[in-house]
């Protein structure tokens, strides 16, 4: 056929990378960009910051208790034991953000697994899995969290797992919905037609096309996990002294709310800032990754 060569020559080369359009949309989202900047800043500060500050987070200095900020190098003041608040805030950031990210990874992985399995197999498997998800969602998660925390020795690992155990359901739901709609698409049928085993269809065909909603849900999960950690620690069941987390710092600050308000204000601000930032990024990603906008 002589037309073949001609087809090539007329080929209109539009080399738009699939991600670049989404990236451009994301960049138009001001709050999301702000969120990204704030998150990067918080993570960097938490990781690097404590080395740069000439105070130890655990060093007690009775003479300088309740120093209001800024006080002789204590930029954010000191707490009831005279410990530098800034360095404690940053060390707490390490804990709180780690728990946030780790809980996100665990719950996203588990939720995605449940969602893809339910969406791909359908039928009785779907019904069973999704009813389980519903049951978990019905259960007031803060109580579950507190009950579990009361029985289990609190540590970063256990708190992470407990939070993950109460926050994977949203991901599972989102993924299941996405996979179920993708399941009807021709290209999935095409994979079935070449005899692809279920594992291949799920991992190679379905998952890459569900990545947008998963990323959005994962981002929002970080915000939720940070908040959950703060709850639990604030109520005294979470991260235990002398280790600092934003939640237990708030807890400790309670009694001094009148006399030393900065002890509550700074951790409170950090929680708000991080939760808001992750939510902004999640919103931005939702808009940017909206698959409908990708269809030409």
């Amino acid at each position: 056929m002589s037309s073949a060569a001609a087809i090539e020559s007329v080929e209109t080369a539009r080399t738009v990378k699939p991600g670049s359009r989404a990236w451009r949309r994301f960049c138009r989202h001001r709050l999301a960009l702000f969120g990204i900047a704030a998150i990067v800043l918080m993570v960097l500060a938490s990781v690097v910051g404590p080395w740069l500050i000439p105070f130890d987070q655990l060093k007690i200095d009775i003479r300088h208790r309740f120093a209001p900020p800024p006080w002789e190098g204590h930029l954010f003041g000191t707490d009831m034991l005279g410990r530098d608040l800034l360095v404690r805030l940053l060390m707490a950031g390490r804990i709180s953000l780690s728990i946030g990210f780790l809980a996100m990874i665990v719950s996203t992985a588990f939720g995605t697994f449940i969602g893809v399995t339910a969406g791909y197999y359908g039928g009785a498997i779907r019904v069973a899995l999704m009813r389980f998800v519903d049951a978990m969602l019905c259960f007031p998660s803060i109580f579950l969290l507190l009950i579990l925390a009361a029985f289990i020795q609190p540590s970063v690992a256990t708190i992470t797992l407990i939070i993950a155990a109460t926050s994977w359901m949203e991901v599972a739901r989102v993924v299941e919905g996405q996979v179920r709609s993708l399941r009807e698409r021709d290209f999935i049928l095409a994979a079935e037609m070449i005899g692809a085993p279920g594992r291949y269809v799920m991992l190679r065909e379905l998952l890459p096309n569900a990545i947008g909603p998963i990323v959005v849900a994962a981002t929002l999960t970080v915000a939720r996990a940070v908040l959950m950690e703060a709850y639990v620690s604030f109520l005294g069941y979470g991260i235990q002294a002398p280790m600092a987390s934003w939640g237990n710092m708030l807890n400790n600050a309670q009694q001094y709310l009148g006399s030393a308000p900065w002890l509550a204000i700074f951790p409170g601000l950090m929680i708000t800032l991080s939760v808001a930032s992750f939510n902004f990024v999640g919103d931005g990603l939702r808009d940017a990754l909206d698959a409908r906008l990708d269809l030409r």
Binding site: M1, S2, S3, A6, I7, S9, V10, T12, R14, R24
Partner: protein, 339 residues
């Protein structure tokens, strides 16, 4: 047939979309006239600008700055007054739309509101332009449904769109379009979503209605069979511009533009003599990207008669014969060679 008065005069119509990758000229310098009682077919493939042209006439393209319209669309109303539709304000345009110029679309299901009874939808179209009571409007709606061949019209007034088949819904759309006795009907691929036997019904109906009302029809389609069936005159579009224009018989039996020729040849024929496993005469390649059109004739990269000169500058639309225009630098040579 085409001896009626001129109702529509489109002059140098251009439509430009603002896109992320820069301005996209979807319609370039389109001019034509439409007379009462005639059917003008607008033919082209996807991306040819045929639908955008029809939407631009109705001012149904997205507003500026997303889309900029240039040129003029002179419409002669029932009152004999000539107005440039592109210069009308929104209220003025609304008075024309659906009243003096109506439009029907490819997918009747999306054009009808699924939550309203069809009788109410037609009646609404009437009361929008005329001061009549709802009762009168509904009675008119029943008449219209009867006119477009919907059996048991009075009872069907209370049907919802999803109760009707695709063909029936298209009939309802036509009834709605005809509600105010328009002077011009723009039909954008009205039968493309329908089966052939239903398409035959709808084409027959449109022909009858046109004869009865004397309205002018702009029929947008990609189907050359339908063109031969309905059109008095044809306008072939490619990459946003008119490439050939003329009476249906000369254009379809003695096409001058290589693109029109290719298009006609690539349609498989039904008669048993032409059957067999011979390959069809396809046009190689595909439609150019509207964002990076070739500098010369936009069909040049796919044309088998192409010469270097064709690629240098955009050829003009020349009058080849009485009322038969062609945009091809080499049409004379090709016609002599008996291509």
């Amino acid at each position: 047939m085409s001896t009626g008065d001129i109702v529509l005069e489109v002059e140098n119509l251009s439509v430009t979309f603002a896109t992320e990758s820069g301005p996209l000229q979807a319609v370039r310098d389109v001019s034509f006239t439409l007379r009462a009682g005639e059917t003008l077919a607008l033919v082209g493939e996807s991306g040819s600008g045929k639908s955008v042209t029809s939407l631009a006439i109705m001012r149904l393209t997205p507003p500026a700055p997303l889309v900029t319209l240039a040129g003029s669309v002179l419409f002669t109303g029932a009152d004999g007054e000539r107005r440039d539709l592109l210069a009308l304000d929104l209220d003025g345009m609304r008075a024309v739309r659906g009243n003096e110029i109506s439009m029907i679309f490819q997918e009747p299901m999306t054009s009808l509101n699924p939550v309203h009874r069809i009788g109410d939808q037609i009646a609404e179209a009437i009361t929008f332009h005329e001061r009549v009571s709802n009762r009168v409007a509904l009675a008119r709606a029943a008449e219209l449904l009867d006119k477009v061949g919907i059996p048991d019209a009075r009872r069907r007034l209370s049907a919802y769109p999803h109760h009707l088949s695709g063909g029936m819904r298209q009939r309802v759309m036509i009834a709605m379009a005809l509600a105010c006795n328009p002077r011009v009907l723009i039909a954008d691929e009205p039968t493309t979503a329908l089966d052939v036997t239903v398409q035959a019904q709808i084409l027959e109906l449109m022909k009858e209605l046109q004869q009865a009302t004397g309205m002018a029809v702009i029929f947008v389609t990609h189907n050359l069979g339908v063109v031969a069936e309905v059109a008095d005159r044809v306008m072939v579009m490619y990459a946003g511009a008119i490439v050939e224009k003329g009476g249906v018989v000369p254009v379809m039996t003695r096409p001058l533009m290589p693109y029109t020729q290719g298009l006609l040849h690539s349609v498989p024929r039904l008669d048993p003599e032409s059957l067999g496993r011979d390959t069809l005469e396809a046009i190689p390649g595909s439609v150019p990207d509207p964002l990076s059109l070739p500098p010369g004739c936009s069909f040049a990269p796919r044309c088998r008669h192409v010469r270097p000169a064709c690629e240098a500058a955009v050829p003009a639309l020349e009058a080849a014969d009485d009322g038969h225009d062609v945009r091809c630098r080499r049409w004379r040579k090709l016609a002599e060679a008996g291509a």
